[in-house]
Symmetry: C2
Subunit: 209 residues, 2 copies
């Protein structure tokens, strides 16, 4: 991929969908697919699909379509799934536990190594071999480890301070589940899942059909 070319968020959102559909095709032992068939499958237009892949150098072949195995391998590299990513979760409440328990993340090379928590009643427990540690030990723990991703599942009021902390530890990406828009330096990427906002968007659609 050309690192100087800025990829739009719309493309970034579609890449994981392509990845998911390609995994399914591979599981079905399908070898190749045209952009037209991929379009029917994903709901994106064929020209959109060709344009998306052109961002990363093409991969398709006129009259043949895409070699699924090859495209899948390339997509893995483009997204970065080919490398392992160590992650920590901050907040061992329901949501934090739920994410720690989510086995499917393993397939993406995302490896959660610890959960940090302030509540002494939770510290010391394990979730699927992942220890719940004292939040006050986070600096010591991360010192000699290459942690790429911090997952924030704390209450709203703690989220910004936790973000500041993980940024100070050199962690460069945050997966945020707290209902707050985090402020972080430009070198840190943040992806937020706002559950309440998603629910309200659904309510709006239901009430304004």
């Amino acid at each position: 991929m050309n690192k100087n070319k800025k990829v739009s968020m719309a493309v970034i959102r579609r890449l994981p969908k392509y990845y998911r559909y390609l995994s399914e095709l591979i599981n079905k032992d399908i070898k190749r697919i045209s952009s037209y068939e991929l379009s029917k499958l994903t709901g994106f237009t064929a020209s959109q699909i060709r344009q998306d892949f052109n961002n990363f150098g093409g991969f398709g072949q006129q009259g043949y379509g895409y070699n699924i195995e090859e495209l899948y391998k390339q997509l893995k590299m483009i997204i970065g799934i080919d490398k392992p990513h160590s992650g920590i979760i901050i907040g061992a409440g329901n949501l934090g536990q739920s994410i720690a328990n989510y086995k499917h993340f393993d397939e993406t090379g995302f490896n959660i190594v610890a959960i940090f928590e302030k509540n002494p009643r939770l510290i010391g427990y394990k979730i699927r071999e992942i220890p719940i540690l004292d939040f006050y030990d986070i600096e010591e723990f991360c010192k000699d480890k290459d942690i790429g991703i911090a997952v924030i599942t704390t209450p709203k009021q703690d989220a910004q301070a936790v973000a500041d902390k993980v940024v100070s530890l050199g962690i460069e990406s945050i997966w945020n589940f707290a209902p707050v828009d985090l402020k972080t330096p430009d070198n840190v990427v943040v992806e937020s899942i706002h559950l309440s906002e998603s629910l309200l968007a659904l309510m709006f659609m239901l009430n304004n059909k």
Copy 2:
């Protein structure tokens, strides 16, 4: 709101954010705000904000700005938070339990009345007074109730069949957490949260900074 006017998904995504920020302003006892100040707060441009609210009839006053209490009340009506919404969850795994436990939904009038599950080891338990019932009783349970929202937190392979079922029961909106793009009739609205896709988007951003 003019029901004939199609509101774009981009606007629908911003409405819950306005709602969240206005709640915070109300908690701070602030009475009015200009579109410029709201812009600094939300990160959307002032003209974007004015345009969004114009979709629903304006609310602002030249030289005064927005009356926060009034705007908040109107937004509640527009989104539909002023009415209660009964919901059911299908899938009592970690994610389903996590959503059932999420207390903040109560504030939005979203009231989860039951969780349905196939696994006999989970049936009969309660989560915050919400019973886990046998999935095979879903039709009987929903018959005389006005269930507006079905939350799908089943494994991927069950999600489409569950969606078909809830649609057949007359439920018109689905909050989907399974990693699959559901096929539903046009009168049903679907909002999906794809956790793995969100994580992959974050990985992409981290690896392509």
